[in-house]
Symmetry: C2
Subunit: 274 residues, 2 copies
């Protein structure tokens, strides 16, 4: 097996390139996968055969998709983390009470990724799905998290992608918005910056163990959404998740009409957000 | 690179064994991972280093967990399938209306796996999480699906695991229960068979394209749950998901008080369930 020891990285990279080239919405053929992954077709075929046997990839006639085993492994990521585990009950409650779509998102490199999503408005797929990524400055969760970090801890920010005329497109626009976020005690609001007619309200959730930067947000129709009450709802929900995740004694989510200023400040990212 | 071509399976298996040994609830050390995966420690260390670079594994001090990239890839599994995509809105609606925890589950080998979960009762973790597996005969979703399949299409069934005295423990008990499932037009009910005080009501969702066997279920307190209305709710919800997933023109979920018998029968798995 010596030859295996010699080049694990190269082999792992081929497996990784193949699996990562599945990102998209439709099954792919061997030719497409080989092209996307830059893995020689013969090698790609052998690797895929093995991945199919392992349940990581599924083959239907001449096309491949990611398999259920991949889903099972991926689900371990959120199952093991305190914030996502603490958020489940709070998110369901908030969705029940508000009817709005509720998200738990996480800072991943220079992007925001949705980990959990309850509800299907405005869409059940694309950028609104769990596992989808968006540029940090573009989104309310991203800006809520940036406001909790000192700029020297910021990830590299990418601008210029502007899905609507309301999108934040420059660092100066971002800084102006972050000032507004701090005025709201850490809550970020994005009105139609990612999608026409959609408003997203987000609050950060900081953890004591360095387990990642999370944000809770709700997504509703710009016309109908009551901003003042939604900001309070989201702030309280995020604070509750923070309390549960950090083992701070807490009442049931519903019973948190207002939180002591100090905890609110912590839940909103501490001094940086104040 | 010839040596890579020689033994892809062996290398892939080492990567797979390492990643699959993460299944559990806590971060693992290199020693634990090497032991669980039966991969030599030195090789395990090199492979993990590469997986960390790829974002598939995260390292914190001396322990490893699955990384966010794994979650991102895994989420592709449900994003690409018609039934999970169609189920999101219906599940959220059902949770909002009933307050009960709503599940979408799938037949995976001889087990049932939860793909989606809305709500956190009776627990946000363990067997109640997305990604968790249970033996088919033990669960309401499992029995709802068995009732739609002719026994010669059944997976290998495992009995003997009985968490409560109400658990189905034998093939004869299973067959008696499947008769009751058919009497309910395809809806399975499990009262305290997986957990004391918990009742689960499940209806199957069959697809026209051979995309897997899914079941929609709700989970509520045995004492409080109104069985008659819940059976109707779950049956209608499953029928709605089936209609959306198969592109059958349908009204909005809320507006489906009762469905024509023929569609109900199809949604419940066709003749097998009748």
């Amino acid at each position: 097996m010596a030859h295996i020891e010699e080049a694990p990285a190269a082999m792992i990279d081929r497996v990784a390139s193949l699996l990562e080239s599945f990102v998209g919405e439709r099954p792919l053929t061997l030719a497409e996968l080989a092209r996307r992954s830059h893995v020689p077709r013969s090698s790609a075929h052998r690797i895929l055969q093995r991945l199919v046997e392992l349940g990581w990839v599924e083959r239907k006639e001449f096309t491949y998709t990611l398999g259920v085993r991949m889903f099972e492994l991926g689900s371990q990521f959120t199952r093991r983390r305190t914030v996502p585990r603490a958020a489940v009950a709070v998110m369901a409650e908030l969705h029940r009470r508000s009817g709005m779509t509720v998200y738990l998102s996480m800072l991943v490199g220079s992007e925001i990724m949705h980990l959990e999503r309850i509800g299907s408005w405005p869409s059940a797929s694309g950028q609104w799905s769990a596992g989808a990524r968006q540029p940090v400055p573009l989104t309310a969760p991203g800006r809520a998290l940036l406001a909790t970090l000192s700029p020297d801890h910021w990830p590299e920010l990418h601008f210029g992608y502007a899905p609507t005329q309301y999108s934040i497109q420059s660092r100066s626009q971002l800084l102006r918005d972050l000032a507004r976020v701090r005025d709201r005690g850490g809550v970020a609001v994005d009105a139609q910056g990612t999608h026409h007619g959609v408003t997203v309200v987000a609050a950060p959730i900081t953890t004591m163990d360095d387990d990642g930067h999370f944000a809770l947000s709700v997504c509703g129709p710009t016309r109908a959404l009551d901003l003042v009450s939604t900001i309070t709802e989201v702030r309280n929900a995020a604070a509750t998740v923070w309390r549960v995740a950090n083992g701070v004694p807490t009442l049931r989510p519903r019973a948190v009409p207002e939180l002591p200023a100090v905890e609110l400040q912590l839940a909103n990212g501490g001094p940086a957000a104040g």
